[in-house]
Amino acid sequence: MNISQSWWKILGAVLVIYSTVYGFLSTVPALPILHQSIRNLYFHVPMWFAMIVLFSISVFHSIKFLNNGNEDSDLKAVQSVNAGIVFGILGIVTGAIWARFTWGQAWSFDVKQNFAAIALLLYFAYLILRNAIDEEQKRAKISAIYNIFAFPMMVVLLFVLPRIGDSLHPGNGGNPGFNAYDLDSRMRMVFYPACAGWIMIGYWIYTLLARVAKLEKKKTL
C-alpha cells in the first residue's frame, strides 16, 4: 500500500472512529427537548453531506460523459449515485430513529424529512431509467441527461423549499438548535471531523464500487 496515495483513506477511517467514540463520550450542552439526543448531530448530518458530495461527483461525471462519450465516466456516474443513495437512506433512518424519541413519531410530516425522501425518489427514478434501456451508449447518454436535469431539482428540494415552511428540525422555527450559540467549540471538535471523515469514507466506497464495476465489465467483454 502506497501511503502517498491512500493517506486520505486512513485519515477518513481515523476521523470516523474518532467521531464515533467521542460522539458518545464528549460532553454536550444541555438543551431543552434535545437533551442527550443532540449527539445524533454527529451521525445524522454527515450522512447528508456525504450524499450531496457523492451526487455532485455523479453530475460531474455525467457532464464529462456528454462531452467525451467515455464509458468510464458513465460507470463512475452511476456508482457514485449508488453510494450516495446508501448515505441518503442512512440519513433518513438515523433521522427517523431520532425523531421517534424527540418528536414522538418516526415520520412527523416535517418539510425536510418529506423533501429528502422525494430527493431520493429522483435518484431511484434515475436507476429505473437505466434499467429500462438496453443499449449501452444510449443508456449512458439518456441517463446522464436525466441526472443533470434532476440535480438542480434536488438542490431546490434540499436547500430552497425547506426555507419557506417551518421545519421541526433544531434551529428552525424557533426550536433550539446547534447554531451559533449552541454549537459550542466542544461539539465543533467532533462535528467537523465527523463530516470530513464520512465524506472521505463515502468517496472511498464510491471508488471501490467503480473499480468493481469496471472489472466486471472487463470480464464480460
Binding site: 456528454l66 423533501f115 422525494i118 430527493a119 425518489l121 429522483l122 427514478a125 429505473i128 431509467l129 429500462a132 434501456i133 444510449k138 447518454k141 439518456i142 441527461i145 436525466y146 443533470i148 436535469f149 434532476a150 438542480p152 431539482m153 431546490v156 428540494l157 430552497v160 423549499l161 419557506i164 415552511g165
Partner: protein, 219 residues
C-alpha cells in the same frame, strides 16, 4: 434569426396538425371535464383545502396526458425528418411554447368548469388564476423535457410518470401553498416568495432543457 423563423414554422406546424385532427385538445378537455364530473359525483360538495388539492391533482394527471404525447406520439420517421430540417433548439423551444399554450387553455377551461360545478370561488380569484397560469407553464416545461427523455428511452407511459413525479412534486407543493393563500384571501405581498420560487424553478428548468436537449436529440 434563423432560429426564430424555425420556431415560428414549427409552432405553425403543431397548430396546423392540431387543427386538422382536433384530437389533442378535444381529448384532453373531455378527459378533464369528465374527471371533474366524477369528482363532483363522489364528493358532491367541497371547499377550502380539499377543493384546492383536488384541483391540482386533476391538473397533474391531465397535464401528464396532454404533454406527454408531444414526443411520445411522433413516429421515428417524422422525428428523423424534423431532425434534418430544424435545429434541436428550435424544436424544443417550439414544443415547449406549444405545450404552454395548450396547457394554459386547458387549465383555464378546467378552472372555469371546476368552480362552476362545485359552486365555490376562492376569495382572491385573480391570484388563484395567476397560480394556475404559473402552474401550467411549469407543468408544460417540465413535462416536455421529461417526455423527450422518456420517448428516447423508448418506453412510453410508465417511465414518463416515474421520471416526472419527483421533479414535479416541489413545483406542486409550492403551487398548493400559493393557491391556498389565494383561497384564504391573504394579502398578496405574502405570496411573493412562492411566486419568486416558481419563476426561479421555471428559469432553471428552461435553462437546463435548452442546454441538454441538443445532446438528447442527436442519436
Amino acid at each position: 434569426m434563423q432560429l426564430i423563423k424555425e420556431v415560428k414554422f414549427l409552432i405553425g406546424k403543431e397548430l396546423l396538425l392540431e387543427w386538422r385532427s382536433k384530437y389533442a385538445l378535444n381529448g384532453v378537455v373531455l378527459y378533464v371535464v369528465s374527471t371533474i364530473f366524477v369528482c363532483f359525483l363522489s364528493f358532491v360538495s367541497l371547499s377550502g383545502v380539499t377543493w384546492n388539492a383536488l384541483f391540482w391533482i386533476i391538473m397533474l394527471f391531465a397535464s401528464i396526458n396532454a404533454v406527454s404525447k408531444s414526443f411520445l406520439q411522433e413516429s421515428k420517421g417524422r422525428q428523423l425528418y424534423i431532425y434534418t430540417i430544424a435545429s434541436p433548439l428550435a424544436l424544443i423551444i417550439s414544443k415547449t411554447i406549444y405545450n404552454v399554450l395548450l396547457m394554459l387553455l386547458l387549465t383555464l377551461i378546467a378552472l372555469a368548469f371546476y368552480t362552476l360545478v362545485f359552486d365555490y370561488v376562492p376569495q382572491d380569484m385573480l391570484l388563484y388564476i395567476i397560480a394556475t397560469i404559473l402552474g401550467s407553464i411549469s407543468f408544460s416545461m417540465i413535462f416536455t423535457m421529461v417526455s423527450a427523455i422518456a420517448s428516447k428511452a423508448g418506453n412510453g407511459g410508465m417511465l414518463m410518470s416515474i421520471l416526472s413525479f419527483p421533479v414535479i412534486i416541489p413545483v406542486i407543493t409550492v403551487l398548493i401553498k400559493l393557491s391556498k393563500n389565494a383561497i384564504d384571501g391573504l394579502d398578496r405581498s405574502v405570496s411573493l416568495d412562492e411566486i419568486g420560487i416558481l419563476l426561479t424553478i421555471n428559469v432553471l428548468v428552461a435553462a437546463f432543457s435548452l442546454l441538454l436537449f441538443p445532446y438528447l436529440w442527436k442519436d
